[in-house]
Every structure is written in structure tokens, then in C-alpha cells.
């Protein structure tokens, strides 16, 4: 029941914010809804942990939540809350259209929330396609030449991927029918996998990996990602980069235990090669970016590649690393985009070279950007350092020396690239000597930075017991 209420809240918020046209009404209703969603998602995660099979079922065969889904649900709910908080200040400076913005914002939230709750893979595909459709107009919201170009690339490439994945899901269904599956759900697939035809399963997996890989931002189908993730309004960037990619990756990872039951498929090899290519390409592209929002967008490609590589390495330790990395990425990347969004509000430019000496000119934003940069690059003592460390350890443990070597090299290059750009923005000497900002940072943006900084700063040192249990349970859903 709680899960159904969870799905209805954003829809109600969407309808209300579209119907009632009063200044700030959309912001208030969206924020209220977001807080409600966060509370309910924490409640349902408690339910998952305390229930005997670690599954919370609403409608058998259709809507249920397990530990992996719970982790994704929590991340979507948390980032959605901070993003709607940031939107309050951000939209005050926008040239209107806030009704349109909040309508799409809430629908986008709805589409991301339902993905971890749905159990029927074909319906999950529809939900993933909806995440694209509801966010396209948000990407093009600024209505500039660049924003519309980004939105067009986004819609064409990700929907092309979705159509490829659709055939993958239909082939999966075909294979499952031949194996006389009892109920076509994620858990039903796991039971039926040994009887499924390996050829069909392989075809389905590759189509889904390539198709949804386009939406996750895997190289070479990543070209839309830095455009869309840099041109959208900053709170939307946080959602796109922090959780939308993760939600789609979740669907690919859901299939992993199924395909791993058939060793002849070499699913791990596919994942490791796709992952490494993405990490490598992103690392070198990070060196030469000139726009700081693109910097964080490319870092998303890098992190998605790391998660995929880790999932390919496999084993309990790597899977725990995967879950930590998913959590760390979602929380840290959204924080980075709030920091970047604050810089954009203050300076009015996305150009790295034009932003210098932030620490003197705007100390709070400068510190936030530095914290975000260090955390997303994977410096200790932040959570992404822990997750990357455990992934590398798992790789060494499994004897994947080549993979680990490349991964270390690429992560080091990416670290250097991100810190190089960020430190120049924060500490670089300001030659222009101007001290005027286009506007002061709105209160709600400062507040968002403070709220979003808490998990980024704390989780590397201390993970609450409930969250730790959730991570371990989620890792166990990935199989051995």
C-alpha cells in the first residue's frame, strides 16, 4: 500500500502544479511532495529490512520492493528532495514558465520512482522510456540554441537506445516463454534462467546492454550526455546525472544475476570491456573540458564505467563496492551540480577559464565546489574512495590484474583532471579584479548546499547501521 501511495504523490503534485497558477505554488507543492516521498521511501526501506524475505510486496507480480530497489528508491527520493529545494531559488531567477517546469519535474520524478518498484520487465522498459520523455523538455527548458540542441540529441540517441532495448526485452520474453516461466518478473526470470536458451538470452542481454547503455552514457553512445547534463537547469542536472543514469543502470544490473547463471554467455567480459572503454574515454575527455558543468557530466560517464566494470568483476566484495559506488555517486554528483549551479548563478558563465579565486569571492560556494570536486574524484576519506578501493581489492582478489591496472590508471587521470580544473576555479588568482556578482545566491540554494553536503562529508567516515544493512542486502541480490 505504502508503495502505491509513493507512486501517486508525484502525480498529484504534477497535476496541482499544472492547474494552479500562483507564484511559488509549484515550488511549495513540489517540495512538500518530495519530503513526503523521502519519508515514505525510508519507511518502506525499514519494511524491506525487517520483513522475512527482505521483500515488500504491494501487488504480487507487479509492484514490489527488495533491497536493491530500496537503495535506488532512497537515492531517487533524496536527490529529488534536494533538487526541488534548489529549484525554489533557481526558478526565482528564471524567466517564467515555472508551471511547465514543475509539471515536467514531478512527472520526471514519478517515472524514476516507479522503475525500482515495478517487477514486470516490459513495464520497466516503458518506465525507463518515460524518464526520457518527461525530462526532454526540462533539458531544453532554457530555450537557448544550445539547450534545444542538447535536448534534440538527448531525445534521439536515448530513444534510439530504447528501441534497441525494446527488441531485447521482447527476445527475453520469448526465451522466458520457451522456458515455461511461471511469472514474468525479475525473480521469476532468475528461477527460469537455467532452462532458457543461451542464444536467446545472449541476444536479449546484448540488445539491452547496448540500448540502455546509450542512456547510461556508455562510450561510444555517450555523446548526448555531456550536452544534456550541462545545458539543463542545475537542479535537473543533479537529477539527470545523479539518479537517472543510476536508475537505468539498475535495470541492466537486474539482468546480471540472470545472465550469470549461464556461464557460456561471458556477460562479465561484455561488462568489463564496455566499462573500461567508458572509464578510459571519460578520463581523457575530462582533461580537456572547458565548461565546468561538462566536467561533472563526463565524470558521470567515468563512474558509470567503474560500476559496470565492478559488476563484471563479480563476487561479494565487488558487489558491495558496486552498491557503495552507486550510492556515493548519486549523492556526491547531485551535490557537485548544486555547487556548479551556484557558481553559474553567481558568475553567469559556464567557462572554467572565466571562474577564478572563488574561495575569496564567494567562500561558501568555493568550499562546496572544492568538497564536491574532492569527493567526486575519489579522494579519501569520502565514500567514493571507499567504494573504488573495495572494487580494486575485489579485482586483485579475483586475479584480474590487467583490468585493475587499467582502472587505477584511468581513475588517477580522472582525479588529476578534475582536481586540476576545480582547484584553479577555487584558488586561481583572479586577474580581472572584479568583485561584483550578477546576483546574490538565493537562500534556498545555500540551504540545499548545506543539506546535500551532509551525506557527502559523513558517509565516508560513518555509515548508519540501517543503510549499511541495506547496502549488504542489495549486494546479495546480485548473486555470487
Amino acid at each position: 500500500m505504502i508503495l502505491i501511495v509513493l507512486m501517486i504523490i508525484p502525480l498529484i503534485a504534477a497535476i496541482l502544479s499544472a492547474l494552479i497558477d500562483r507564484p511559488r505554488f509549484g515550488a511549495v507543492i513540489t517540495l512538500t511532495g518530495a519530503i513526503g516521498i523521502l519519508v515514505l521511501s525510508v519507511c518502506s526501506i525499514m519494511g524491506v529490512i525487517s520483513s522475512p524475505g527482505h521483500v515488500l510486496v504491494s501487488i504480487p507480480g507487479w509492484i514490489a520492493l527488495d533491497a536493491f530497489g530500496g537503495l535506488i528508491l532512497f537515492l531517487v527520493a533524496f536527490v529529488n528532495m534536494t533538487a526541488s529545494l534548489f529549484s525554489v531559488g533557481y526558478m526565482d531567477f528564471s524567466k517564467g514558465g515555472s508551471r511547465r517546469y514543475y509539471l515536467n519535474f514531478n512527472l520526471f520524478t514519478f517515472s524514476m520512482l516507479v522503475v525500482p518498484l515495478l517487477q514486470e520487465p516490459n513495464i520497466v522498459w516503458i518506465a525507463v522510456e518515460l524518464t526520457t520523455l518527461f525530462s526532454v523538455l526540462l533539458v531544453g527548458f532554457e530555450n537557448t540554441h544550445e539547450a534545444l540542441e542538447a535536448a534534440w540529441k538527448y531525445v534521439v540517441l536515448t530513444l534510439m537506445g530504447a528501441a534497441i532495448a525494446l527488441l531485447g526485452f521482447l527476445i527475453l520474453y520469448w526465451a522466458a516463454r520457451h522456458a515455461r516461466i511461471e511469472s514474468y518478473t525479475w525473480s521469476g526470470l532468475l528461477l527460469a534462467a537455467p532452462q532458457m536458451s543461451p542464444t536467446l538470452l545472449e541476444a536479449a542481454f546484448i540488445f539491452i546492454l547496448v540500448g540502455f547503455g546509450a542512456k547510461v552514457g556508455l562510450v561510444p553512445l555517450h555523446t548526448w550526455l555531456p550536452d544534456a547534463h550541462s545545458q539543463a537547469p542545475s537542479p535537473v542536472c543533479a537529477l539527470l546525472s545523479g539518479v537517472e543514469t543510476t536508475v537505468v543502470l539498475y535495470v541492466i544490473l537486474r539482468l546480471l544475476p540472470v545472465v550469470k547463471l549461464v556461464p557460456s554467455l561471458h556477460a562479465d567480459m561484455w561488462l568489463v570491456s564496455f566499462g573500461l572503454v567508458s572509464v578510459g574515454a571519460a578520463a581523457f575527455l575530462l582533461l580537456q573540458v572547458r565548461d565546468y558543468k561538462r566536467l561533472f557530466a563526463f565524470s558521470t560517464v567515468e563512474h558509470m564505467g567503474i560500476i559496470l566494470t565492478a559488476a563484471g568483476i563479480g563476487g561479494g566484495l565487488a558487489h558491495t563496492g558496486v552498491m557503495l559506488q552507486i550510492m556515493g555517486h548519486a549523492l556526491t554528483k547531485s551535490f557537485c551540480f548544486y555547487a556548479a549551479g551556484s557558481v553559474l548563478l553567481l558568475m553567469g558563465t559556464r567557462d572554467i577559464a572565466s571562474v577564478r579565486g572563488l574561495i575569496k569571492r564567494a567562500p561558501a560556494t568555493g568550499v562546496a565546489l572544492l568538497l564536491g570536486g574532492l569527493a567526486i574524484a575519489g579522494a579519501p576519506p569520502f565514500v567514493l574512495f571507499m567504494s573504488e578501493f573495495s572494487i580494486l581489492r575485489a579485482g586483485l582478489h579475483r586475479g584480474e590484474y590487467f583490468t585493475v591496472g587499467l582502472l587505477v590508471l584511468f581513475i588517477a587521470i580522472a582525479f588529476f583532471a578534475i582536481m586540476n580544473h576545480v582547484s584553479r576555479m577555487v584558488f586561481g588568482s583572479d586577474e580581472t579584479g572584479e568583485n561584483s556578482f550578477s546576483m546574490p545566491l538565493p537562500m534556498s540554494c545555500k540551504f540545499t548546499l548545506a543539506v546535500a553536503a551532509v551525506p557527502v562529508a559523513v558517509l565516508g567516515l560513518y555509515i548508519p547501521g540501517v543503510l549499511y544493512k541495506l547496502l549488504i542486502l542489495a549486494a546479495s541480490t546480485m548473486g555470487g
Binding site: 514486470e120 513495464i123 540554441h145 528501441a163 527488441l167 520474453y173 516463454r177 555531456p226 550541462s230 575527455l285
Partner: protein
């Protein structure tokens, strides 16, 4: 059972014919010189998809496939072109030639090669479950539809033909789907069509905004966003 074989034979032959016409219509989308012609070929393609669904639903009778055919007919042959024609200004539909990255004869050859590749791709799948009947026709043709749609997306620079390429890809996946997944829950089918209508709506809004703001719908020429090395 034996007395039905004749009917079944006829139906599967008709289905093969529908499949053949489906692929011809897809070729039309790849090579048409004008936006309107492109749209007409897409409507034809959707029509043959619906025909194939009706035929496969006849023997053995499946109310479900009939519903799928009807939904497709209404959504893609009737509503979709209506939305496109009404939401996008006449400028988009003026009778002008649209340029392609690859010349039309070369496109035709590439499309042919892709179709043959699709057949070779799907052979091992059919063998894996020793399939007979409808899947042997629908899967290679559906896969070819998917490939040709992808090619259309990359070779076209105009917004509407790119959208039609996307929809042709989905049609290809559906064409395979009606043979291999005839008993999908109806809610999934309805949601798929709903999804499709949102897609058209969103892309049409976007196209209109691009046209208004940038003054062209040749989206292939948009190239402001790219990585440049340090000066």
C-alpha cells in the same frame, strides 16, 4: 486439425506478404525525398504491422493480437499523422527536397546490406528454439526494420524524418514482438501506445521550439556543443 492446415497455410503466406510489404515501406522511409512522402511510407509501414498482427491473431484465434492490431491501426495510422500535421507548421511540410548525408542510391545499397545482415543475425535465434511459422518471417523482418530505422536516424538531417526513423525502429521491434511475444499483458500494450503518443507529442513540441528559435529543422546541422581543445 488437418482441415485447418489449408487455412493456416494461406494465413502464413499472407503474413509473409505483409512482411514483404512492411520491409518495402521501410525502404521507402530510408530513401523518400520529401518529408510528406516519408510520413506516408511510415503510415504504410504501420498499416502492414497491424495487418500482420491481425493475420497472426486469426489462427489460432487470439483476441489479444487482434486488439494489438487495432490499437496500432488507431494510434499510428490515424492519431499520429493527425498530431504531426496539426502541431507542426506548414513550413515543415513544404514540398521541398531534403538532403541526406549519404546519396539515395548509396542509401539503398546500405539498406539492402543491412536487411541481409539482419537475416543472418536472426538465424541462430530461430535455430536455438527450432522455431517454425510466424517467427521465421517476423523476426528477420522486424530486425531489419530496427536496423533501417537506425540508419535513417544517422543519415537524415531533418527533424521529422529523424522522428520517423525512431518510430520505424519501434515498429520493427513490434513486428518481431507480435510473433515472439503474442501474449504480453494488455496493460503493457496500452502503456506502450500511451508512451508512443507522449513521444510524438514531446518531439513535436521540441521540433516546433527548435524551428521557432533557430529557424531551421535541419537538426543535423546543430553543432554548437562540442569538445574543443584549449586555445
Amino acid at each position: 486439425m488437418a482441415m485447418f492446415t489449408g487455412v493456416t497455410d494461406l494465413v502464413s503466406n499472407l503474413n509473409a506478404l505483409a512482411g514483404g510489404l512492411f520491409i518495402v515501406a521501410t525502404f521507402g522511409i530510408v530513401v523518400a525525398r520529401q518529408v510528406r512522402a516519408c510520413l506516408r511510407f511510415f503510415i504504410l509501414q504501420s498499416f502492414f504491422l497491424a495487418v500482420s498482427a491481425f493475420l497472426l491473431g486469426m489462427s489460432p484465434f487470439s483476441a489479444h493480437l487482434m486488439a494489438v492490431g487495432a490499437i496500432n491501426l488507431v494510434a499510428k495510422v490515424w492519431i499520429l499523422p493527425w498530431i504531426l500535421l496539426h502541431m507542426l507548421s506548414d513550413e515543415v511540410y513544404t514540398r521541398r527536397e531534403i538532403d541526406q548525408v549519404v546519396s539515395i542510391p548509396a542509401s539503398l545499397i546500405i539498406a539492402l546490406v543491412l536487411t541481409i545482415v539482419a537475416c543472418f543475425f536472426s538465424l541462430p535465434w530461430l535455430r536455438a528454439v527450432s522455431a517454425t511459422g510466424a517467427p521465421c518471417v517476423n523476426i528477420p523482418i522486424g530486425l531489419a526494420g530496427l536496423f533501417l530505422g537506425t540508419y535513417t536516424l544517422t543519415a537524415r538531417r531533418e527533424a521529422i524524418p529523424q522522428l520517423l526513423g525512431l518510430l520505424a525502429m519501434e515498429n520493427g521491434a513490434f513486428f518481431a514482438g507480435i510473433a515472439i511475444a503474442p501474449d504480453l499483458p494488455l496493460i503493457a500494450e496500452l502503456a506502450l501506445v500511451f508512451d508512443l503518443l507522449i513521444l510524438i507529442f514531446v518531439v513535436a513540441i521540441l521540433t516546433r521550439r527548435v524551428h521557432k528559435r533557430i529557424g531551421t529543422t535541419t537538426v543535423g546541422m546543430l553543432a554548437k556543443l562540442r569538445e574543443e581543445p584549449y586555445k
